[in-house]
Amino acid sequence: MFLKNLGMAVSALALIAGGVTSAAADNGNVKVGMITTLSGGGAGLGIDVRDGFMLAVNQAGNEMLEVVIEDDQRKPEVAVQLADKMIQSEKVDILTGIIWSNLAMAVVPATTAQGKFYLSPNAGPSPLAGKGCHPNYFNVAWQNDNLHEAAGAYANDAGFGKTFMLAPNYPAGKDALTGYKRLYKGDAAGEVYTKLGQTDYAAEIAQIRASGADSVYFFLPGGMGISFLKQYAGSGVDIPVIGPAFSFDQGILQAVGAAALGVKNTSQWNKDIDNEANAAFVASFQEAYGRLPSLYASQGFDTANLILSAMDKADVKDADAFRAALNEADFDSVRGDFSFGNNQHPIQNIYVREVIKEGDVYTNKIIATGLENHADAYAADCKL
């Protein structure tokens, strides 16, 4: 509802910020400000994005690219203040790094309105994909609904017709179930919203057991997903589970352990995607950091390479040319080729993965393509 007048607000802000943005630096240099979560409970995701991003930066060795990194502590108001700092005193050209949708909603509109670019390496809230899309906002990962839509499509393919759905009671949780239901053709055996940060799912598992469902779809990011899967595995309920990649990613899979084996999950990336860039990325990431890369690391890596590819073609001070260069997505993405839609969100394949064990390490392998060249549902609302 608040986006109706965004355009007006934006133009007013741009007017005010106009004086600042023209403070041009040397030709061709690009300063990137990364605001991401490096401390507290959700730090693992931010660290992966940062490590992936910096790996690409170091590999390129482009001296014209400078990166400043700050920790948002997963607090939206801290993120807003850091964005102010990056823009006002660091005078960055591009902001990136934010993990969480609520932080992105706090930072992105003000950033793009001030004439800076924002490249999202993770969050893709629906308002920014639809009516609130902006020429300076690019999403390099996915629109939030994408992985859920693919899971819904997979449920149809797998012949499920009665899914029990579970998500935390907050906007991203509601979007998740909306996304799942968009392509899913069966019935709902139940729809439950849990408390954000909940650690015990015994009550929900009991409801699942009693519901007569033939499949369970859940979106419980971070520690919530670990708790749910461990408890589900111990409950004796054996209804198949589907989820988005977030609960099955490299960073947390080891903490879930055998409880995750065999679970199907959806992702736009996996380490076994067969292309040269990906093989090199997985090997060099392991070499540099001593662990397997995650989905988040791949997104950070792609974001950096996208910036580098645009730098080869245009000067960031010429915003239109730089924007056009970004829009071509002309780099070797580790997920394989993808393109940007009219709302500057990826049009890409989304795969179905299965959790397996390789030696001592739990990881994923791709078993099917859930959706091919999938764009998001909000692109039509975007007037770009």
């Binding site: 401390s39 507290g40 409970g41 730090a43 693992g44 660290i47 009671n169 729809e191 439950v192 919203y193 849990t194 408390k195 940060g197 650690t199 015990d200 015994a202 009550a203 009991a206 409801q207 057991r209 009693a210 971070g222 520690g223 919530m224 670990i226 708790s227 461990k230 408890q231 595995a233 111990g234 409950s235 004796g236 309920v237 960073g251 947390i252 080891q254 903490a255 879930v256 352990g257 055998a258 409880a259």
Partner: protein, 305 residues
């Protein structure tokens, strides 16, 4: 809604209640004997869980992991008691809240520095995994039954400790008259260290037991800490009996509220808004319970006025 589902939910409430009791017992003991509010109690819960996860990873034994959790949390408790906490006994509550708030920061980031930012793995041992069938055909996870058993056993042991042993006599004496027991020649500072370490060990045990079915990660102690405070305030601070009753009350209210409220709202509104409003209200329910208890009994159910 079937009766079987309701019984299963009551069991779940019971299980979360007894684990809360392990946390709340330590808090209430420390408050009763030393008059100290310890916000860092949740950190000791986390220490227990991390120690268990590290030990389980190294040895593969769940029993050793539990022992490690007790030992590590007791040791951490004794160390902070000696270094920090004992300077706070004569301070007002404000200083205690602040100093232990500072300890939370140190523990959380220190743990992250030691173990990294990713959650650790700790799982239920194979001999306790899976579900058992109870009367009325109820399928219930064996591990959760074990938790209920262990929790109740600890509760009984604690009551016996306080009512039957020499340490218990001293604890009770310390609660009612501090000068008196010092005059009787009891080494009061050692007593305090022991009580604090005991409370810490119980928190550590709770962390390890719960860690096996939840996520072992930095910050895991904070939600539990707040719940444990709600428990001891409802039960009456300093009362172990109050802690037990409060724990079960909070455990059952939280579990059953989250399950029943959305269904109750569903009787007179459409399903999706009932789910949404019911869930919202359910998450506030225990705080409403606590406010309600305090309004009618300002010192909790079993507190001394």
């Amino acid at each position: 809604m079937s009766l079987v589902l309701l019984i299963e939910q009551v069991l779940n409430g019971l299980q979360s209640g007894v684990m809360l009791f392990l946390m709340a017992a330590g808090l209430t003991l420390v408050f009763g004997v030393m008059g100290l509010i310890n916000l860092a109690h949740g950190s000791l819960y986390m220490v227990g869980a991390f120690a268990a996860a590290a030990t389980a990873a190294a040895t593969g034994s769940f029993l050793l992991a539990l022992i490690a959790s007790l030992a590590a949390a007791a040791a951490a408790g004794a160390v902070i008691e000696l270094a920090v906490i004992r300077r706070l006994y004569n301070r007002d509550h404000l200083d205690q809240v602040l100093a232990t708030f500072a300890l939370i920061l140190i523990f959380s980031e220190g743990t992250r520095w030691l173990f990294g930012s990713f959650p650790l793995f700790l799982d239920v041992p194979s001999y306790l995994s899976g579900a058992v069938t109870l009367p009325f055909g109820i399928q219930y996870p064996l591990y959760r039954l074990t938790i209920i058993g262990v929790g109740l056993a600890v509760a009984v042991a604690l009551f016996l400790l306080v009512s039957r042993t020499r340490l218990g006599i001293r604890i009770r004496a310390g609660e009612s008259d501090r000068e008196m027991i010092a005059a009787l020649g009891v080494d009061i500072s050692r007593l305090y260290t022991v009580v604090f370490a005991l409370g810490a060990a119980l928190a550590g045990l709770a962390g390890a037991m719960v860690g096996a079915i939840q996520s072992v990660q930095v910050g895991m102690g904070e939600p539990v800490l707040i719940l444990a405070f709600v428990v001891i305030v409802i039960g009456g601070i300093g009362s172990i009996k109050g802690a037990l009753v409060g724990s079960l009350l909070v455990g059952l209210t939280d579990t059953l509220g989250g399950f029943l409220l959305p269904q109750a709202f569903g009787l007179f509104m459409d399903a999706s808004s009932a789910t949404s409003i019911g869930s919202a209200l359910a998450s506030m329910l225990i705080y409403i319970l606590m406010a309600g208890v305090l309004i009618f009994r300002p010192s909790g159910l079993f507190g001394r006025a």
